[in-house]
């Protein structure tokens, strides 16, 4: 009998195994929901799957009676816009600072301790400051995400830059590279795959900050809607919204992974 660590599932079995926890979760939910609804047909905690379909239909495909908008898509659009703007800013800022810190010892001495200390500020603790200084509009929400994840991106990119063997940097100098050319032809291209990895790992944090900001001060957005309907214990809205957020985050992660593979094939083996 081979050891457990040497047994590998076939492709089909692997796929089935991956689906299994999802199936169990759905099954457990349906069981729980049925049990509660049998006892009390007005139970709000675990609504029946049919009421999800109803709610999704109402939110996604029917116009809201008050605003005349399809709320599901308005919320999704608002949240995604905030998230994408913030992620783009964080990536650009993190890459530029991380590259400068990783490549130039003087910049490293100047900025690395500051970034390390700044990154320790709990972003949610300064959210009130952001609302006071930047107002309750889009800027404060985007700023919260940027402040929350940029320090991590900077430090990770700088770390990756310092991992590039000094042999490569010396070799490039003997081939005539200036500091600038070293940055744009040797360091930057090797940091881009890591930037994608870092953004992927920070997606969870970014969503967290987004929903926190939307919960406190907003007029639309996925986080806003969840916290709005919480007052009515509307689990039939909250649960589909949570599932939708999860699906969006999962898809973003998947798209970034595919993009990395397509754009930087050389980085797959290292």
């Amino acid at each position: 009998m081979p050891r457990l660590v040497n047994l590998h599932p076939s492709r089909g079995t692997g796929l089935l195994l991956g689906l299994l926890p999802f199936v169990i979760l759905v099954f457990a939910y349906v069981l729980g929901s049925n049990a509660r609804l049998a006892e009390n047909p007005d139970d709000k905690l675990l609504p029946a799957p049919s009421s999800f379909v109803e709610t999704i239909n109402k939110y996604a495909f029917e116009e809201d009676r008050r605003s005349g908008q399809r709320l599901w898509w308005v919320d999704t659009g608002a949240s995604l816009k905030r998230l994408l703007v913030a992620l783009t800013l964080s990536a650009a800022l993190g890459l530029a600072l991380g590259l400068a810190i990783g490549a130039i010892p003087y910049v490293r001495s100047l900025l690395l301790p500051f970034v390390a200390a700044f990154g320790m500020i709990p972003p949610l603790a300064i959210l009130p400051i952001l609302f006071i200084v930047l107002g309750l509009g889009e800027t404060a929400k985007v700023a919260l995400i940027v402040i929350g994840i940029t320090p991590i991106v900077v430090r990770d990119i700088a770390l990756r830059a310092s991992e590039i063997p000094s042999e490569q940097l010396i070799k490039a100098q003997t081939l005539g590279a200036s500091s600038w050319l070293l940055a744009v032809r040797v360091l930057l291209p090797q940091l881009l795959p890591r930037l994608i990895d870092t953004i992927r790992l920070n997606l969870g944090c970014a969503w967290l900050f987004l929903i926190a900001a939307e919960a406190i001060a907003s007029t639309e957005g996925l986080g806003y809607r969840i916290f709005l309907v919480r007052r009515y214990m509307a689990m039939d809205v909250i649960l589909p919204y949570v599932a939708w957020i999860t699906a969006l985050a999962f898809f973003m992660d998947y798209a970034l992974r595919r993009a990395r593979r397509a754009l930087f094939p050389w980085a797959e083996s290292v």
Partner: protein, 246 residues
Amino acid sequence: MAEVKIRRLWKEYGAQVVLENLNLTIADGEFVTIVGASGCGKTTFLKMLLGVEKPTRGEILLDGQPLVYEPAPDRGIVFQRYSLFPHLTVTENLLLGLELAHSRVLGRLFGRARRQALERAHALLEEIGLYTARDKYPSQLSGGMQQRLSIAQSVICQPKILLLDEPFGALDPGITADMHEIILRLWEANRMTVFMVTHDVKESFQLGTRLLVFDKKRHDPQAPEAYGATVTYDIPLNRNRYPIAA
């Protein structure tokens, strides 16, 4: 090609003397092989020629001019590993030197300049037997192919001096003969002064036109770091191969 003069060169790290009182004149186009026990300063010597280490005393003259202690295009280097760029294909690795030299802002060539550079790169790839692997990434190459590419990458920039730090140390013994043939061919065709540090004594005799042995002349058992190494043997070799008519 360049003449290298080393005058009263010392290298110390604090109280530890690594190299003491090195005096050498290396003629244009010489192929210098350097051997010696581990930790006797061979690599430190090479690093000083490369410009990443400064001597504590004395000086190095390159064609009569004091050496610039920073890596520069007049001195090529091939390390034992890690000297290729993993994000560039074989062709792009070879092109890089030409692009860096001729395009100071973007570091890229376009149009006719790029076609000419490509022609040169492809000719050189043909010469070192890597033309068929021209679109691969370094991680897809064998160790021997990587080192051939690394050597070619330096040679295409036509350095005056080529520094080799145990370039074949991590390779299978079976392929070193091919590597020797290629390095000698490139050396003869490009007229460089070569300094090669190696652990392999046989290799040092086969390749060099001049063999330097680094060792400590004096040794104090109570203070092993008190004395540094210097050149204890300086042997002319293979004068028939010497490219400049002797």
